[in-house]
């Protein structure tokens, strides 16, 4: 009996420990949801309200108020820049993986070094350029910058997926006389659909959550979701329930996308190094 019980007991013990740790880390998210479901007086009460009747009032308030334009700007900036990354990145990754050029390693190094160049390196000139082209507070500026941020990552990631396609497939296609564009569209795209998904996911996460350029390059017309949250730290008084509802809504797309595509997340975050 003992030999059967010991592993089970240790499994129960470690499960309890594990769930406690997970609870601690996940709790702020639960609390954010709970606060969003409260009324303002409940959210700003001392001691904090633990038991209450949930209401969607604050969510309705946020969605019916001035939040949607911010949300839409975020969606435009993220989706368009992600598409640009795929369009520019796939041919580049293809060239680096399937038809390696001289100095492939140097080119890869160049791409990745730009990803980790701090924004401090190019911030001032980009700001002046945006100002001179009247692109300040214009969503186009954010789209171009987010593409720059994500493109190196996209190239690396797509390349790591392309390397997994059996080489014979391309040989066969070339023998059949398939043109380059054909090769990409008919063979590559279907085969690396998971790679395209992983790349899109990572690009969406980074651009949706991006704050530095958003807060400094936009003010109202082109402001994105995180900028809406900034308004809560200055001069809105005690609007904790509304704040929590807005934070929940702003975080929702990335949270859902990340949860759905968990398997791709790790690979994307390490630029394909870890599978």
């Amino acid at each position: 009996m003992r030999t059967v019980d010991a592993p089970l007991r240790s499994k129960v013990l470690w499960s309890v420990v594990g769930w406690l740790v997970v609870f601690v880390f996940f709790f702020p998210v639960i609390w954010m949801w709970l606060e969003g479901l409260k009324t303002e007086p409940q959210a700003a009460s001392s001691p904090p309200t633990i038991f209450f009747v949930p209401t969607l009032m604050e969510f309705q308030e946020v969605l019916g108020g001035d939040f949607p334009p911010f949300f839409i700007n975020s969606a435009i900036a993220s989706i368009v820049s992600t598409l640009l990354v795929l369009v520019l990145g796939l041919p580049a990754a293809y060239a680096l993986a399937i038809r390696p050029v001289k100095r492939t390693q140097d080119v890869l190094f160049f791409f990745i070094s730009t990803r980790f160049l701090p924004f401090a390196a190019s911030l001032v000139p980009l700001y002046l350029l945006a100002r001179d082209l009247s692109l300040l507070d214009n969503i186009l500026a954010l789209i171009l910058i987010y593409t720059t941020i994500n493109l190196p990552l996209g190239v690396w990631l797509l390349r790591s997926f392309l390397l997994e396609i059996p080489h014979d497939l391309f040989e066969a296609a070339r023998v059949d006389g398939a043109a380059f564009r054909h090769e990409i569209l008919r063979i590559v795209v279907p085969l690396i659909a998971p790679g395209l998904a992983a790349t899109s996911l990572i690009c969406l996460i980074f651009s949706w959550n991006e704050f530095f350029y958003a807060v400094n390059f936009t003010s109202s017309t082109a402001a994105t979701a995180p900028i809406f949250l900034v308004s809560f730290i200055s001069g809105r008084g005690l609007f904790y329930a509304k704040l929590a509802a807005a934070a929940t809504l702003a975080s929702l797309p990335v949270l859902l996308a990340g949860w759905i595509a968990q398997k791709q997340l790790i690979r994307g975050l390490t630029m394909g190094a870890v599978k």
């Binding site: 129960v12 594990g18 769930w19 740790v21 997970v22 996940f26 702020p28 998210v29 609390w31 959210a43 001691p47 520019l88 580049a92 293809y94 060239a95 680096l96 038809r99 390696p100 050029v101 001289k102 100095r103 492939t104 390693q105 791409f111 070094s113 730009t114 401090a120 390196a121 190019s122 001032v124 000139p125 700001y127 720059t148 493109l151 390397l163 080489h167 380059f180 996460i205 704050f211 400094n216 979701a225 995180p226 949250l229 730290i233 005690l238 904790y240 704040l243 929590a244 807005a246 934070a247 975080s251 949270l255 990340g258 949860w259 968990q262 997340l265 390490t270 630029m271 190094a273 870890v274």
Partner: protein, 311 residues
């Protein structure tokens, strides 16, 4: 497959050497749009940043653009703010990475052992990394740590801690805590991938041979996940060095300059002070610091790729 992998890095040179010129261009062509795009939007601005760093220029003052030599740099050396900012950046980055690697390792080992509901645990665990950083910081500051209405001061008050105003009394610790909350899942994911690549039979064999769990951990598990820990730490530090969102939301660099790191100082100088030249000099310094960190990061990344290729 194995041939293909070895073509990945290093093999490219030999493969490309024999092809004709025309073929070389058809190979290069698909690369060009991305290359040119990235070059235009990162390299040229960087050169301009270096150029501006030798000028004195206040954006709000018409005609204030004039050559200043090394003034912006000498000011950086003599200025207290930049030294504080560099120190804060180092403290923040090192403590966030160290703590989140240790916690991430612990959680990864929990999730790699025999526990109930592994999948759900992992799913919930990655949430802090996915939550918008600005949103996460606000939730911590206003609903969890707020001395009057926050949950944590309330829960801690029976322990004689009273209603501590965490954000104002321990600003750096608060920023570190919130960043650790966000980066532990990241480390956990990478280290867990390392642990899962381990053959359980090896550990079992070590156990049969009489190794205690601690020995097995030190001699077998740790060497195996070490490159994963290094990768996580280095990628993480490249991101954490740039921390801006949570500082903006939690402390706005304060009180005083207690939580002003390099990115936040840059923001203050460029967008609050409009000193273009000075901001550019800070930018150049930030690049030098990042290059030091990144060199190590990239070396690790490439070595991992080469291990992959050899498999």
């Amino acid at each position: 497959m194995s041939i293909l992998r070895s073509v990945g890095i290093g093999g490219a040179r030999d493969a490309a050497a024999s092809v004709s010129r025309r073929d070389a261009w058809t190979r290069r062509l698909p690369l060009l749009p991305a290359f040119i795009y990235v070059f235009l939007l990162t390299q040229i601005p960087f050169v301009l940043t270096i150029y501006y760093s030798f000028f004195s220029w206040n954006l709000l003052k018409e005609g204030s653009f004039q050559f200043a030599g090394l003034d912006n740099y000498t000011r950086l050396v003599t200025n207290e703010s930049i030294r504080t900012a560099i120190l804060n950046t180092v403290i923040l980055t090192l403590s966030v990475i160290a703590i989140s690697v240790i916690l991430g390792m612990a959680v990864a080992m929990l999730l790699n052992s025999e526990v109930f509901g592994k999948g759900i645990m992992r799913t919930l665990m990655i949430a802090p990394f996915l939550i918008m950083p600005t949103a996460g910081a606000l939730i911590w500051k206003d609903t969890l740590l707020n001395p009057l209405f926050g949950l944590l001061p309330y829960l801690l008050s029976p322990f004689g801690l009273g209603r501590v105003d965490w954000v104002n009394r321990f600003p750096m610790a608060t920023v570190v805590a919130v960043e650790v909350w966000r980066w532990t899942p990241f480390m956990m994911l990478i280290i867990l991938a390392g642990l899962q690549s381990q053959n359980p039979e090896v550990l079992e064999a070590a156990r049969v041979d009489g190794a205690n769990p601690l020995q097995a951990f030190r001699r077998i598990t740790l060497p195996l996940v070490r490159p994963f820990i290094e990768l996580g730490a280095l990628l993480g530090s490249l991101f954490v060095v740039q921390t801006y969102d949570s500082i903006f939301m939690l402390t706005y660099g304060g009180p005083g300059e207690d939580t002003t790191n390099i990115p936040f100082l840059l923001y203050l100088v460029a967008f609050q002070g409009y000193s273009i030249g000075q901001a550019s000099a800070i930018g150049v310094v930030a690049v030098i610091i990042t290059i030091l960190v990144a060199t190590f990061a990239l070396r690790t990344l490439f070595s991992i790729f080469q291990v992959e290729a050899r498999r």
